[in-house]
């Protein structure tokens, strides 16, 4: 889980933060409701996770709420990976 959280955090910093951005991204930092990632740009994160972990995140589950913190995103990915391997 820690590794998964780290990968998500790193992607968010690289993909969404501008140079000089001083927001620290923690596992509980609100990403969408906090205005760091907008729901329009969220699609690239979804696609990154799908490619990296060879999973399919259903659109119905890729909600702004489910993608609002690193913690929640990691939980969603873990659940989907678990279901795929069950």
């Amino acid at each position: 889980m820690d590794e998964l959280n780290r990968v998500i955090r790193e992607y968010i910093v690289k993909e969404y933060q501008e140079e000089g951005d001083d927001h620290e991204i923690l596992d509980t930092t609100p990403l969408i409701s906090g205005g760091i990632v907008d729901s329009f740009s969220m699609v690239s994160l979804k696609r990154f996770l799908e490619k990296k972990y060879a999973i399919r995140i259903p659109d119905a589950e890729a909600t702004p709420d489910a993608f609002d913190t690193v913690e929640r995103i990691a939980a969603l990915v873990t659940r989907i990976r678990g279901a795929a391997h069950a």
């Binding site: 969404y16 501008e18 205005g35 740009s41 690239s44």
Partner: protein, 422 residues
């Protein structure tokens, strides 16, 4: 006799739901309220605010009347003549019985002005953006948009089945990464505003076109905040950036510099525009642009084709206003467009400053989240060719007075945030 009072419980529940939402917005200071204007659009207008107050004459620093043509006598006369000659409305969509000769003429004139191959009118640019992507692109394609594009583009892209992606604002390296990442897609389309409406900066269209050519992608530009005045002859951001004739799709509006009434268009490669005529739903299913607006817009194009006087005056006003604000110590977004954001960062501060400026006779509006990112609240000032030096001098006097009151002159982002919070 008015309608009977509705007492059904489900209606009462719905009312209560929205009542609470509106109250929460009001309590948070986020409720949008209209100001009633008692005069035509101009550099000076009469505004009733708050509702019920006697109208006050104020300097208007927040309209999109960039060229000052919204109430120009020749435009009004042409619109009136159009009304007399072609009627008030057509009671039809375009393809049934809603296309007049003047619609064809306006589309041809816009094509020549924008340097494209064909043009299709829409009721607004919002409608053009709502229709263009879905009409032209599908699942095999990808739309790669700048993260600060206008909300109407975001909505239009959402209606389209093409894959969607974004790149960091004006970050060409990031855009190139995305173009490479999506190289297996049938069509790749780079989507951007020409002038970004909240920051007032220009898209790097020269670099975008070069990247698109290198990677075999199309370029889409919404030039609503540029058509009529950016570039030496006012054709738009593509003229300003030296890529006139190289944009595949342009959407723009008649509702800002070009007379300010309403109406918009998609302009670009002939086959793409022809396909919009077949498939774009806001074109197919909403009424034609009224003859009065078409006639007014034709006159606007004639006026700005005759002389660059108005866009030159706007450019002078823009440079002057930017210099006045900078010298006074305001933190402004640098740039060359007549959109000049005065950065205040804190939402309440932006509202307080706007309110105090109104009391001083200057009409501006504070913008804050979700219209702009959190912690980046601002007052967006906009110049017009209709502004005279005295308007701008009066405005800077008021800005300095209010700026002193809030002790923000000479302060940067860090200092303002320390004093007022995010």
């Amino acid at each position: 006799m008015g309608p009977a009072a509705v007492t059904e419980p489900h209606i009462a529940a719905v009312r209560e739901h929205y009542r609470q939402e509106l109250e929460a917005a009001r309590a948070a200071g986020l409720l949008r309220e209209e100001r009633f204007i008692h005069s035509p659009q101009a550099a000076e207008i009469e505004v009733e605010f708050p509702a019920g107050a006697a109208p006050r004459r104020v300097v208007n620093m927040c309209s999109n009347n960039y060229l000052g043509l919204s109430s120009h006598p020749e435009v009004i006369a042409a619109a009136r003549a159009g009304l007399d000659a072609r009627g008030y409305g057509l009671s039809s969509v375009r393809f049934i019985c809603g296309t007049q000769d003047i619609h064809r003429e306006l589309e041809e004139r816009l094509t020549a002005f924008l340097g494209t191959e064909a043009t299709l009118l829409f009721p607004s640019c919002m409608d053009a953006n709502a229709g263009v992507f879905e009409a032209l692109f599908g699942e095999p394609d990808v739309l790669i948009a700048d993260r600060l594009v206008h909300a109407s583009i975001v909505d239009g892209m959402r209606l389209c089945k093409a894959m969607q992606d974004t790149f960091k604002h004006s970050d060409m390296a990031h855009l190139e990464e995305k173009l490479i990442e999506h190289r297996d897609r049938r069509f790749r389309v780079v989507v951007t505003d020409g002038v970004f409406s909240m920051d007032g900066d220009l898209a790097k269209l020269d670099e975008i076109v070069a990247l698109a050519e290198r990677h075999g992608a199309l370029v889409f530009v919404d030039d609503s905040h540029a058509t009529g005045f950016m570039g030496r002859t006012g054709r738009g951001t593509h003229e300003q950036k030296g890529v006139f004739g190289k944009i595949d799709l342009i959407t723009t509006t008649l509702g800002k510099a070009l007379g300010g009434a309403s109406g918009g268009c998609v302009s670009g490669r002939a086959e793409l525009v022809a396909m919009c005529r077949q498939r774009a739903r806001p074109y197919l299913f909403s009424n034609t642009v009224p003859p009065v607006i078409v006639a007014g817009a034709l006159k606007v194009l004639e006026l700005i084709g005759r002389t660059t006087e108005r866009r030159d005056a706007l450019e002078r006003n823009t440079l002057y206003w930017r210099r006045l604000l900078t010298e006074a110590g305001f933190d402004i977004k640098p740039g060359e467009s007549p959109i000049v954001p005065v950065m205040l960062y804190n939402a309440k501060l932006a509202q307080d400053v706007a309110r105090d400026l109104f009391a001083e006779g200057i009409y501006v509006v504070g913008f804050f989240f979700p219209v702009v990112a959190k912690g980046l609240a601002r007052i967006r000032t906009q110049l017009s060719a209709a502004h005279e030096t005295r308007h701008l001098e009066c405005a800077i006097e008021a800005f300095v007075k209010v700026g002193r009151k809030y002790d923000i002159l000479g302060k940067d982002k860090k200092a303002i945030l320390e004093a007022y919070g995010a």
